[in-house]
C-alpha cells in the first residue's frame, strides 16, 4: 500500500464514505453529523453511507431552522446544538464506585478505557474549542484522566468553513474560518462534493492512503483557499476584541448586567451548548442500604444558584451577577487564566438562547459603557 504524500489530496463523495468506513474498520467509534430533532447534531456514524447530504440551516439569535439545499453537499451547515465536548468531556460520567467492607470501603475507578474516537466534521471554531478545553483539563498541575482517555487518541477530521452561519464570528475571535493545524485531516468541500484534503499528521496520511484519493489539482487547491478566504467576510456576527478584556473587567458595575438579566431566563442553555464551558459538579449517590455508593460527574452551569453555594448562601445570588460571571469569564478572565479568550465565536450561545440574547451585542454594550441619557434618546 502506498502512503499518501503530505501535499494536498482530493477526495470525492465515495472517497469520503470510504474514509468513514476505514475509520470504523480501524476500530474507531466515528462521530459525525446526523439529523435529529430538527437539527444537525453529532452522533455515532456506523458507515459512510449514513452521512446526511443536502442540509443547511438558518441561524439567528434564538432561532435555528433546518433546511434543504439545492445541492447534495455533506457539510452545508455551520454548527448545531451539540459540540464535541459531549464526547470528550461527557455530560454524565460515572467516576467511581465505592462499597462498604467492614468498617472500611473500597473505591473502584469506573471509567475504564473508552473506545478511541474519530471526530468527523470538526469546524475550525470547534477545533479551537477543543484546544481551549485541552488547556483547562490537561494543561494545569493536574490532568483530568477521563478527558485524557478520550482526547489523547482522538482522530480529528476537520472541515474548513466556506459558508458561515448567521451567528458565527470565528473571524473576530481568530479561530476560523480556516484551521491550519490541530487535525489529522482537513477537508474543504468544493462543488459537487469534491474535497480538497490537507494532511495534518502521519496517521492522517496513513488513513488517507487506505481510501481512493488523488493529488489535488492546483486550481482546486486555489479555489478551496479562495472559498475559505471569502468566508471571512460572510460572518453573521462580529466582535471587536481589541481592548475588550480590559473594558469588561472595568465594567463590573455596569447597569447593562441588570438589563440583560431582565431578559435572561437562567436556563443554562448557553453554557450547555458552548463548546468551551467545562464546569461540572459531582453527585454522590447510595443504594438503600448505604453500602454501595457512586460518584457521578455532571455538567454544571454558572447560571445556577447552587453553583456558588457556600454555607450561609450563594456567592452569586442575583441573575445579573451570574450573567456577568459567564460573559466576563468567556471574554476576559479566561485570558488571565489561560492566555486566550474562552470564546471561539461559534455562535451557539446566541442561536440556542430562548430569549435571543446575543453575547456579541451584550459585550459591546457593556464595554461601551452606559450611554449618556441624551444620546440614548436620540438613538
Amino acid at each position: 500500500m502506498s502512503h499518501a504524500p503530505h501535499g494536498p489530496r482530493a477526495l470525492d463523495a465515495e472517497g469520503l464514505a470510504a474514509l468513514v468506513d476505514a475509520l470504523v474498520a480501524a476500530g474507531y467509534r466515528v462521530l459525525g453529523p446526523a439529523v435529529k430533532g430538527g437539527a444537525i447534531v453529532y452522533d455515532e456514524v456506523a458507515s459512510g453511507k449514513e452521512l446526511p447530504r443536502g442540509f443547511t440551516e438558518d441561524q439567528d439569535a434564538g432561532r435555528y431552522r433546518l433546511g434543504r439545499r439545492d445541492d447534495e453537499a455533506f457539510f452545508g451547515f455551520a454548527v448545531g446544538p451539540t459540540s464535541w465536548k459531549r464526547f470528550l468531556h461527557p455530560p454524565d460520567l460515572l467516576r467511581f464506585r465505592a462499597s462498604r467492607e467492614g468498617h472500611g470501603f473500597a473505591v473502584e475507578p469506573a471509567d475504564g478505557a473508552p473506545t478511541s474516537l474519530a471526530l468527523l466534521g470538526v469546524r475550525p471554531c470547534d477545533l479551537a474549542a477543543i484546544a481551549r478545553q485541552d488547556r483547562v483539563l490537561l494543561g494545569g498541575p493536574y490532568a483530568d484522566p477521563a478527558y485524557a482517555a478520550r482526547r489523547t487518541e482522538a482522530f480529528v477530521v476537520a472541515v474548513q468553513c466556506t459558508e458561515p452561519g448567521g451567528t458565527c464570528f470565528c473571524a473576530s475571535m481568530g479561530t476560523g474560518p480556516r484551521a491550519e493545524s490541530g487535525f489529522d485531516l482537513a477537508l474543504t468541500e468544493g462543488p459537487a462534493s469534491a474535497f480538497v484534503v490537507e494532511v495534518g499528521s502521519s496517521r492522517g496520511a496513513e488513513l488517507l492512503g487506505r481510501v481512493p484519493n488523488r493529488p489535488a489539482a492546483a486550481d482546486e487547491v486555489a479555489a478551496a483557499r479562495a472559498a475559505t478566504d471569502a468566508a471571512r467576510g460572510k460572518m453573521g456576527r462580529t466582535l471587536e476584541t481589541a481592548g475588550l478584556k480590559e473594558a469588561l473587567q472595568a465594567a463590573a458595575e455596569s447597569p447593562r448586567w441588570e438589563a440583560v438579566a431582565g431578559r435572561c431566563l437562567s436556563c443554562a442553555n448557553c453554557t450547555l451548548a458552548c463548546p468551551t464551558c467545562f464546569c461540572t459538579t459531582v453527585e454522590d449517590t447510595t443504594d438503600v442500604t448505604g453500602g454501595r455508593a457512586e460518584r457521578w460527574r455532571r455538567w454544571d452551569s454558572c447560571f445556577s444558584l447552587d453553583f456558588s453555594y457556600i454555607h450561609g448562601g450563594s456567592v452569586r445570588r442575583t441573575p445579573s451577577s451570574r450573567y456577568r460571571q459567564w460573559l466576563t469569564h468567556k471574554l476576559a478572565s479566561w485570558h488571565d487564566q489561560f492566555g486566550e479568550p474562552g470564546c471561539v465565536g461559534c455562535g451557539r450561545c446566541i442561536t440556542w438562547c430562548p430569549a435571543g440574547i446575543d453575547l456579541t451585542e451584550e459585550a459591546r454594550a457593556v464595554a461601551r459603557g452606559p450611554v449618556p441619557a441624551k444620546a440614548a434618546r436620540k438613538e
Binding site: 465505592a98 467545562f278 461540572t280 452569586r316
Partner: protein, 281 residues
C-alpha cells in the same frame, strides 16, 4: 478500604481511617486520620486543604489543622453545618474516610522569618491557621513578636483552648481572644476581632499577617492592619469558595480570574483586593 488502579488519578479518594475523634465544641470536632495499612502518608504545607469523602454522602474541602512536622497523622478540624460535615461528625475511630490532596497554596511561613507575626482568626478560621502556628512555634526564635487575635461566637466556641494556653505559657505566644456574646463567667473581651488590632504591640513595618475567617471579617481586619501601617503585600488571607474538584477542573471555585483551589486558598491580599471589593464576584 482498598484502592484499585488509578492511584494517581487526582479525583479518586485515597483510603484513610479515623484514628482519633476529638470533640472540640458543641458543633466542631477534630479527626485524626491515618493512611490504611501499607499506604504512605504525604507531606503537606500549612494552609493546604484536602477533599474529604464520606461514603455515599459527599466530599468537601477541609483545611489540614495538624502539624506539618508530623505528616503521618492527618488532622482536620471541622464544623458541622450540612450534610457532609454532619456525616463526617458521625464517624468513629476505625471508620474509613476518603482523602484527596493536599491541594492549594501555603501560608508564607519561611518568608515571615525575622518579622513579627500576627495571626487573625475568626471562628473555624483558626483551624486552617493552626499548622502555621505549629511551625512558627517550632522555630520560635526565628520570629519576633507572635500574636494571635481570635474571635469566637461565645466562650464555649473557643477552639484548641489547652493548646493555646500552652503556647502562651511556653512559647511566648501573645493570645487575645474576643467573643461576640459573653457568658456569665467570661471576663475577656467582647466584640469583633478587628477591635483588638489597634491595641496589640507589633512592629507594623516588620510584620507578616495571616488572616482566616468570614470574608467580611477579613476585609475589616485588613483595613485595620493597613491603618496600623502593615504593608498589604505582607497580609495573607485564606479564601473560601464552593469546590467540587480541588484541582482546577470543575470551575466552581472561580473568583474573577482566580481559581481559589489552585491559585489559593491562601492569597497575598493585594492579589485579591480588587476582587473582594466587587459584589457577588
Amino acid at each position: 478500604m482498598t484502592l484499585a488502579a488509578g492511584a494517581n488519578d487526582p479525583i479518586l479518594p485515597r483510603p484513610y481511617r479515623v484514628h482519633r475523634v476529638q470533640k472540640e465544641t458543641s458543633d466542631t470536632f477534630t479527626l485524626e486520620l491515618r493512611p490504611e495499612a501499607g499506604q504512605a502518608s504525604f507531606p503537606f504545607a500549612a494552609g493546604q486543604f484536602n477533599m474529604l469523602y464520606v461514603l455515599g454522602v459527599g466530599e468537601v474541602p477541609i483545611s489540614i489543622s495538624g502539624d506539618p512536622g508530623l505528616p503521618q497523622s492527618l488532622v482536620h478540624t471541622t464544623r458541622s453545618v450540612g450534610a457532609v460535615t454532619k456525616g463526617m461528625g458521625r464517624l468513629q475511630r476505625g471508620d474509613a474516610i476518603g482523602v484527596r490532596g493536599p491541594f492549594g497554596t501555603p501560608w508564607p511561613i519561611e518568608a515571615a522569618a525575622g518579622n513579627d507575626v500576627v495571626f487573625v482568626a475568626g471562628g473555624i478560621g483558626l483551624a486552617p491557621l493552626r499548622p502555621a502556628l505549629y511551625q512558627v512555634m517550632a522555630r520560635r526564635e526565628a520570629y519576633g513578636r507572635v500574636v494571635l487575635l481570635y474571635g469566637a461566637r461565645t466562650p464555649e466556641d473557643i477552639l484548641f483552648r489547652r493548646q493555646l494556653k500552652e503556647w502562651r505559657a511556653d512559647f511566648d505566644l501573645e493570645v487575645h481572644v474576643t467573643v461576640d456574646r459573653a457568658t456569665r463567667d467570661w471576663r475577656g473581651n467582647v466584640g469583633v476581632v478587628t477591635h483588638l488590632i489597634p491595641r496589640v504591640p507589633f512592629d507594623p513595618y516588620h510584620t507578616v499577617a495571616m488572616v482566616c475567617g468570614p470574608e467580611v471579617m477579613m476585609r475589616y481586619t485588613v483595613m485595620e492592619l493597613e491603618r496600623r501601617g502593615v504593608q498589604l503585600e505582607d497580609v495573607h488571607v485564606s479564601l473560601e469558595r464552593n469546590m467540587k474538584c480541588g484541582v482546577g477542573f470543575c470551575g466552581h471555585c472561580q473568583m474573577g480570574p482566580k481559581f481559589v483551589c489552585k491559585d489559593g486558598p491562601v492569597f497575598p491580599f493585594e492579589k485579591v483586593r480588587d476582587l473582594l471589593n466587587v459584589r457577588e464576584v
